[in-house]
Symmetry: C2
Subunit: 140 residues, 2 copies
DNA sequence: AATAAAAATGTAATTATTACAAATATGTAA
DNA sequence: TTACATATTTGTAATAATTACATTTTTATT
């Protein structure tokens, strides 16, 4: 997705496509690594020396309320962000702390207890040890 | 579950059953409302005037590491705690902020992308509006 | 160019959590 | 019981993520 289509996507959601907003969205789309606020700020401030962390927070909240991104609360201390709003789960490796995407089909999942509830958002968070770390641990 | 069986459960997990620990576990078992640290502290300090919040944090971390409780990170700002470690999902009403349990059968769920991963914990967090709030909103 | 509105900035405040050292309680051996 | 070692609890300070808010800068419109 290029600058122009990001811009159009923002306009479609009644968000004015300022430079900072486009850059933040662009970063989220390019980086699939579910960055936290500090990572987004530290990376983008290289390009935008005047960027402030508050702007990052404001922008992410704006995007979230518009449904353009998802907030991942898999960790207790900090929020992570994802421009991929399609249905998928997140796995956090407790060894290397990396967050992986995985495919999950929620359609047809058996649940009960939420009759007459309006479900707006579904989050699937798994934790454990990733294959890379298992491999590394086994060979050391 | 009475004091004695709580005590035994702690001993079984190599946790010395101190008064504070038993009371905190007892509170978590009785209250099914997924309290945060402040709620636990505020309620228990009535019975234990010398209780400190640090003890609540220490104890909850101890319980969590032993697998006796689950930490619910459905909210961005604060952790909530659940003594029910059986498989179930959590729903947060964005109107009344209450957290509901719901039944979910994860067995047979279709996932891919975690081949050779060791999954230790599975969390299902849904968000939306609960039936009570929908009803209230409709009648007002 | 003048003006108004929106966006970004910088700083301070808030709040959840952790670190850590001191105090207290507990259990055991003499 | 007393002395001692160990575990637990406490209180305070530090850390760190997030938000509040007033000020400055940018943008769009007349
Ligand atoms: Mn993702
Ligand atoms: Mn629960
Ligand atoms: Zn790993
Ligand atoms: Zn509700």
């Amino acid at each position: 997705m290029d600058r122009n289509s990001i811009s159009n996507q923002l306009i479609k959601n009644n968000i004015k496509p300022s430079y900072a907003r486009i850059k933040i969205m662009e970063y989220l789309i390019q980086q699939k690594n579910h960055p936290n606020v500090d990572e987004i700020y530290t990376e983008l401030v290289k390009d935008i020396p005047t960027l402030s962390k508050t702007t990052v927070y404001n922008t992410l909240n704006l995007f979230n309320e518009a449904g353009l991104i998802k907030v991942i609360t898999i960790e207790e201390n900090e929020a992570r962000f994802d421009a991929d709003t399609s249905e998928h789960g997140h796995f956090k490796c407790e060894n290397c702390n990396k967050i992986y995407d995985f495919f999950v089909k929620l359609e047809g999942i058996e649940i009960s207890g939420l009759e007459n509830f309006k479900i707006r958002q579904k989050d699937i968070f798994f934790k454990g040890i990733c294959a890379k770390c298992i491999n590394y641990i086994n060979n050391n």
